[in-house]
């Protein structure tokens, strides 16, 4: 197919429960679709290389770097961004815990930290620091730090982030 014919590829996504049908250039990332086309600027562009985690969203319930996902490749998927975590005026427990524990300074990494933490709390199995692979360990501070290593915070709010997640962890 001629490339110019494909500049508008139709993508159906459900974002925070709202269905969208958009025609996209195959080159645009899910992050750019969310921010530039759908006006959801909560997800942040930090490195745009999958190294900082500021763009983390949930794709079909699993945390992922939206900068590394092509929008065309998430056709048919359900996306949750930081805008979709609260229920109306009621904050998600992790959002409330982040405020309680002063888990941010500038706030730029926070949407990614929150989405990553929501995804992480639902992930089964061990991590690289789990002593016994056959047991599901409790979320100790060491486990939280390892499991959240894909989210950087240049302000260094890590102690508050670990405490906030630890409070919500089962």
């Amino acid at each position: 197919m001629d490339i110019t014919e494909q500049v508008g590829v139709q993508v159906d996504v459900q974002v925070n429960g709202v269905p969208h049908t958009v025609a996209v250039d195959p080159r645009i990332s899910l992050l750019d679709l969310l921010r530039e086309r759908l006006g959801l600027t909560g997800s942040k562009k930090g490195c745009d290389h999958g190294q900082c985690g500021a763009c983390t969203v949930l794709i079909d319930g699993r945390r992922a770097n939206s900068c590394l996902a092509l929008a065309v490749a998430v056709d048919g998927c359900e996306i949750t961004t930081v805008e979709g975590l609260a229920s109306g005026e009621e904050l998600h427990p992790l959002q409330a815990a982040f405020i309680e524990h002063d888990a941010f300074q500038c706030g730029y990494c926070t949407p990614g930290q929150l989405c990553s933490a929501v995804g992480m709390l639902g992930e089964p199995g061990p991590s690289a620091v789990t002593a016994d692979l056959l047991l599901d360990p409790g979320l100790t501070p060491e486990e939280i730090r390892e499991r959240m290593s894909g989210n950087l915070c240049r302000c260094g709010a890590y102690p508050g982030i670990v405490a906030a997640i630890g409070e919500v962890a089962p």
Binding site: I3, R63, A69, L70, L133, S149
Partner: protein, 323 residues
């Protein structure tokens, strides 16, 4: 990013039939999309194989078949992998981040490209990216590049942790392509650079990995260990996947050593293995074997630190595995 067209493959044969000049297969995209953004990869056609029905992990007699589209996180968390091939689970868990592991596929992990800084920078020469332009790494920033099996054309390392464990487990890579199906035993999927560093693997154009099959777990105990510059979300300086089995009388009956971070491919330390099998399970024997293996290394000025690192890692890991 250069324009391209996008198609989602409906089956492995559909993917292969869509393959032509300028085509690349897209898995989780965690490496390829980044390389496209950097201008390192510039496909005209992208065939998305990430949703092919190749996402099962299933026992086949005493073996385990892992679909090519299985996500890295699902592989590491799989109960059978955790109980029967703990080294593989460990290796995958030490790689990348939770987000990346959720996206990345098994085949994509195997086929990811080197993180050599010159390969990823299109303003610099690189024999792997543009054959014949030269290798600035040899005179430049090579602190985390190869010490074994490199050539004058390329000193890149393969960055995968998973592939190192698969090399130690004698895994088989199942491939389909225009010329039919093939089975490639690890570590034979990846090649050394020689004078064709643009080729990371032995795969021909259009070949598609469909599965990785693990033979029955090796006897004895196993470990995966990784040394890196920070505690998490970093590539290996040196890593090791090791298997050791020691008889009641202290004689080693099985020994497998695969090293990561040291070569263009996962490096099976066959010299060391041969030196250790049939001998006493002692630290002294391990040290002699490690030194014999690393005798063939050709370090550069700023990566020579990897030799004592690799030697000590081999010895300490085998000592830990010794009953």
């Amino acid at each position: 990013m250069k324009p391209f067209d996008y198609a989602r493959a409906q089956s492995p044969s559909d993917a292969v039939s869509r393959y032509g000049p300028g085509t690349m297969y897209l898995g989780g995209g965690t490496n390829l999309v980044d390389l496209m953004r950097l201008g390192v990869a510039a496909p005209d056609h992208l065939v998305d194989v990430s949703r092919l029905p190749l996402d099962a992990i299933e026992p086949v007699r005493d073996r385990l078949r892992i679909g090519a589209a299985v996500r890295n996180s699902d592989l590491a968390a799989d109960p059978l992998v955790r109980s029967r091939y703990p080294m593989l689970s460990r290796a995958v868990l030490t790689g990348a981040s939770g987000q990346v592991r959720n996206m990345a596929t098994v085949a994509g992990n195997l086929l990811q490209r080197t993180r050599c800084p010159y390969f990823q920078d299109v303003t610099r020469p690189c024999n792997k990216r543009e054959p014949g332009t030269g290798c600035p790494a040899i005179e430049g920033d090579h602190a985390n590049l190869a010490v074994l099996g490199a050539s004058d054309a390329c000193v890149a390392t393969h960055p995968s942790d998973m592939a190192v464990a698969l090399a130690a487990l004698d895994a088989e890579v199942h491939v389909t392509g225009p010329a039919g199906d093939r089975i490639i035993p690890m570590p034979g999927l990846h090649r050394l650079p020689g004078d064709a560093p643009e080729r990371d693997t032995v795969l021909d154009p259009g070949m598609l990995i469909t599965a990785v099959e693990l033979p029955a777990p090796p006897p004895g105990a196993s470990l995966y260990r990784k040394v890196r510059e920070r505690a998490s979300f970093a590539f290996a300086l040196v890593s090791i996947a090791a298997v050791l089995d020691v008889r009641w009388d202290g004689v080693v009956t099985e020994c497998r050593i695969a090293l990561g971070g040291v070569a263009h491919a996962p490096w099976r330390a066959e010299r060391a293995e041969r030196a250790i099998i049939g001998g006493p399970a002692t630290g002294e024997a391990y040290l002699r074997a490690a030194e014999a293996e690393l005798d063939q290394a050709r370090p550069l000025p700023r990566n020579a630190f990897k030799l004592p690192l690799a030697r000590n890692l081999i010895v300490r890991t085998l000592e830990e595995l010794t009953p």
